[in-house]
Symmetry: C2
Subunit: 332 residues, 2 copies
């Protein structure tokens, strides 16, 4: 399969001879150290001609740079995480970095193990979505965390969750709703996403809009509490609330299905807005009307902060703007 | 952030002293070379106690083993690829391997670049889904390809696509259909998925079932040809075919939506079966009735073949069994 042009692998010395430069110049080029442009071109041309392959491991040892970024995510099954992985891969790849992917299944011990593992592996940096509040992170390795402010030393990138909550309430009101409901899960770990309800409440209070908050516990495994709540608030085929803001698109879709199965029309009787901006098959249509997180821009921001040499000036929290996207569960 | 227990990092010599064994024994344990169980336990205990971290790069150079597997996929946005990435990560992680993820956006040149890159990086093996028919793969690195038989030297893991096509036809017939239609895209590169239509036709011919084949070209960007076909075969609110097998769940969902928008009832008038077994949000409900690929088992098989030392005995093609899953677009 391999195009074997030579039986003997070319060495750095062969490249130096071919390029007619000193061995040290070749070494500098391969290790990304400053060298005149003309020399750089000659060395790279010679290396290509001879089919010389830099031994990345040896390079890692010498230059203390591995051109590898670790990405630590709960999983890459959920479209939010898989999109984040996809964008990070693309953006880092274009900048010559590889991605080491570790998945943690939300297990705090596994999260710590992943962090330890990638630190041992001498990566140049870590981008992570983690839920372990006691995570032990080495100061030596640049770390950017997504969606949860860990402490002021680790920069966090998220969307503007607070404005997203405000925007959801505003859109429901603009669409004619006047008795709003928030439905969200109770997260055991505080995170940036908690600001969605705060923004929602802030808008309602400022604009004197009637609003109620309902918390799901363990919503995937035991939907009874949620069903009870919906049933208790339904009378003669009417639901007590005409606009619902759900903390995620997944919850929005679950709510929509349950309401429709119970004879309520969405969006005619009840309008629903989710959060995330997730699409069917990852690229097709929105599941519901939604507040879209700018995932590509968040990945770009995380990479920029991570690769920036001036870590001391990194912001503690970067919140990127969200947008409202129509997806059939609101009137417009 | 880091729990700094010592200012000086422990060395292998410290571990040897702590464990009361020779330095060579410590080296053997860290490099995975055979050593008595008792010694192994003592060394590992001492290493843990001292917080000794193996320098993975140095280990990579010494042992010629990096404990890293590269995963090359078109993207991790599409649920088929993201599930594959998720399972590979989990399965390899449990066996002490890291995953280097590279995405190629179906670009043949980028596929070659990714393969070259991971080969330079001295990974222990590659699992790939690639569409470049001229891919240049080194014989030196174990490679397992998913879903496309590259040549007889590179083992391929796929689902049993042929049986899946047969099963789809059989299920449609069992559900009362007697005029079947196949809808699939025309892939520019031959792959295992092409066997779906072959199995479908084989079942129909063997059992004397009327059947037709329709090919989409460029189905996502220009659905006109597909709409024309559906319109031409619809008369007085009836569609000429009562059972459709679609090459993917994505196509099945597109067909279902178009038929429903044109006043046809699915599954009452027309029943539809897709292929893949993809779920909403990656874990919720099937998009449609479907022939499910056993993705976890395929990932396990790929890892098993890849890590098996006896590469000469690796099978050229492993086809894992598919199952029919009801998802609302058939009568049962």
């Amino acid at each position: 399969m391999s195009k074997k042009q030579n039986t003997r692998k070319p060495t750095m010395k062969d490249v130096a001879t071919e390029a007619n430069v000193a061995l040290g110049t070749v070494s500098k080029v391969f290790n990304g150290l400053p060298v005149g442009d003309e020399y750089k071109v000659r060395v790279e041309k010679a290396a290509r001609k001879l089919g010389y392959q830099v031994n990345e491991y040896a390079r890692g040892l010498r230059a203390s740079k591995t051109y590898t970024i670790a990405l630590i995510l709960p999983n890459v099954q959920h479209p939010f995480y898989s999109s984040m992985a996809d964008y990070c891969c693309e953006i880092l790849g274009k900048q010559g970095y590889r991605v080491l992917l570790a998945t943690t299944t939300y297990d705090p011990a596994l999260e710590q193990k992943c962090v330890d593992m990638v630190q041992q592996n001498k990566v140049d940096g870590i981008i992570g979505i983690t839920y372990n509040p006691d995570l032990d992170i080495s100061d030596d390795i640049p770390f950017v965390i997504i969606d949860r402010k860990f402490n002021n030393k680790v920069p966090c990138v998220s969307c503007d969750n607070f404005s997203g909550g405000e925007l959801a309430a505003q859109k429901l009101v603009e669409n004619g709703c006047n008795n709003l409901l928030f439905i969200g899960e109770s997260s055991p770990v505080a995170g940036e996403a908690d600001k969605r309800i705060l923004g929602f409440k802030s808008y309602c209070e400022t604009n004197d809009i009637k609003h109620t908050e309902f918390r799901l516990f363990d919503n995937e495994k035991n939907p009874d509490k949620f069903h009870d709540f919906i049933d208790k608030n339904s009378k003669n085929g009417k639901f007590a609330y005409d606009g619902i803001f759900c903390n995620t698109d997944f919850i929005a879709r679950m709510v929509m299905k349950y309401l429709r199965n119970n004879g309520l029309s969405v969006p005619e009787d009840v309008q629903i807005i989710g959060f995330d901006g997730i699409k069917n098959f990852g690229f097709d249509e929105y599941y519901c009307s939604t507040i879209r997180q700018p995932l590509r821009e968040m990945a770009e921001a995380a990479v920029d902060i991570l690769l920036n040499k001036d870590r001391a000036s990194a912001p503690a929290l970067v919140c990127l703007p969200v947008t409202y996207c129509y997806g059939g569960t609101t009137k417009k």
